[in-house]
Amino acid sequence: MRLKWKLTVASIKMYLRQKEAIIWNLLLPLFMVVLFGFVKFDGIGHIELGVVDESGGSGKMFVSALKNVKTLHVHEGLRESELKDLEKGDREIVLVISASFDPTSRDSLTAYYGEEKPREAQLGALVVQRVLDELTFQRSPSVQRSSLRTLPVKTRNLTYIDFLLPGILSMSIMQMGIFGVAFGFVSLKKRGILRRLWVTPINPNDFIIAQVATRVLVLVIQIILMVVVGVIFFNLHFIGNVLTLFLMAMLGAVVFLSMGFALAGISRSEDQVAPLANVITLPMMLLSGVFFSRTNLPGFVRTITDYFPLTYLADGMRSIAIDGATLAQVGPQLLGLVVWSVIACSLAVKMFRWE
């Protein structure tokens, strides 16, 4: 026990004296958040319109007319999920077409809009009204026009930083695991440092435990640092449970640290690690929804990326941090990561070599 502790302390000491590691693992993710935090991505280009069609068919024409309007991004869904998206800020306005929908009657349409974006909501309501007018006019020009009843909804008005920060945290867990471990071990191997250790009675597992413990500690520091900076400086809407977040992060760390050890096992030099590590991390970095939502990916790509470990981690971290999801609610992500950790651990055990 004492030895494990001493090894861990030494390992942490070495980590903290390594300027590059601090820059790459701690400061770079923070810098990215700061950078993106100051860039505004939320201009009006189009209006996110949620449509809940409860009319059972009579509203179909109206919906397709709305879809023809360029400035509207129409999302069809159930009342509950659309309103939830409105609260999150993913919709500017949600239109509910009631069962008694008739283009000529009042009160059969309700539009909910986000309080914090009145400008977009107003614009959206205007557009919807015009579509409705045209539709009514076509049918019976003489009839009185139906009009929209609008209701305000309290929103949390999530911004890009809320999407980005959990993603960047997840990404840096991946980078630390794969690059940190793989490069670190290959370098120890190459410089003969490990050989020197093996002529002592050291238990190799103690050494690995110390390495993992060091990185877990760095991870905890990093999560705290990023969330605190996010909340204080960028109005991060963090409503999650910190322990749940840590648990998710640890599970992700298990997956990516194991991958790092597996890579370290099959590589003899840094030159061999780099391409392999990039082949694994780059697609995930770009396609796992770290920087941009995966909704716009082509169907089959999206299906593939559904199963990426970083997708599970980023989605899970985001749900916990921003939606306040409980462990049960991130069940699918947890399960995905557990499966990946079994795969990655077996690979690490099979491929890791000291020599």
Binding site: K6, R191, G192, R196, W198, V199, T200, I202
Partner: protein
């Protein structure tokens, strides 16, 4: 003639694929002896040492260190030996004192780093990092690290390669002093005058086999008895003597 053996090597064999790197090597080393293993590159010196040091699996034969079989009880053997490896290094982000403390912990010992560093005349350097040391200082530190567990036998693989004549002589002094404290030393070297100066006995290896094993003076006598004559007339001094008389014996590394 030889004191009680502390290291016994019998028919030691190492194969890498078709290549037999060490081919049935046998020798024993007595307590407090300085034993040299000589030979051209690729003769199997390092492989031999690494099998004894538990770093490489033994393909044939056996090695006993203080009566303990290396194959059967490698962990026990590791506790009894101190090793300086050829071209191995230490963590570069721990200073010398911290490194020695950590290596002590690996043996379950709480060592006094300053004492160990004094042993190799580096007591001023306890706050330095390995990267800041000169070649000779690195080798001396590496010997200090090999002493943390108060080993019975110390293995030094080419300890003086790449050092200037002053540093080399200085290291000889360190090695002799460690021997005088009751330890046994097994070393490899490419410098014949070093072997002649330092070693009680030497084994000369070639192509995986020991081709001669005796005290250096004995081997020289045998050669001369066979009618060997040098091409050039023996001189009373050589260039190294000139170099040292011009530049002195004091160390230049600090």
């Amino acid at each position: 003639m030889m004191a009680e053996a502390i290291l016994e090597v019998r028919s030691l064999t190492k194969r890498y694929g078709d290549l037999v790197a060490v081919n049935g090597v046998s020798f024993s080393v007595g307590r407090q002896e300085i034993f040299g293993i000589l030979g051209p590159n690729g003769a199997g010196k390092t492989s031999t040492l690494e099998m004894i040091e538990t770093l490489r699996p033994i393909d044939g034969g056996e090695v006993c260190l203080d009566g303990i079989d290396v194959t059967r009880q490698p962990q026990e053997v590791k506790r009894l030996i101190g090793v300086q490896l050829q071209s191995s290094s230490f963590f570069d982000k721990l200073n010398l004192g911290e490194l020695l403390l950590l290596f002590g912990e690996l043996y379950g010992r709480r060592v006094d780093p300053v004492n160990l560093l004094r042993e190799v005349e580096l007591e001023e350097k306890s706050k330095s990092y390995v990267g800041q040391l000169s070649g000779g200082q690195k080798q001396r530190f590496s010997i200090a690290a090999a002493l943390v567990n108060e080993p019975l036998v110390i293995f030094l693989d080419e300890p003086t390669t790449g050092l200037d004549p002053q540093s080399r002589r200085h290291l000889w002094g360190v090695i002799r002093r460690i021997r005088s404290e009751g330890k046994t030393i097994v070393l490899t070297t490419h410098y014949m005058e070093e072997a002649e100066e330092l070693c009680d006995r030497v084994a000369i290896m070639d192509e995986g086999k020991i081709v001669a094993l005796a005290p250096p003076q004995e081997l020289i006598r045998q050669l001369l008895a066979g009618g060997f004559k040098k091409d050039r007339v023996e001189r009373l001094a050589n260039l190294e003597d000139v170099f040292l008389s011009l530049t002195g014996h004091s160390l230049r590394e600090d």
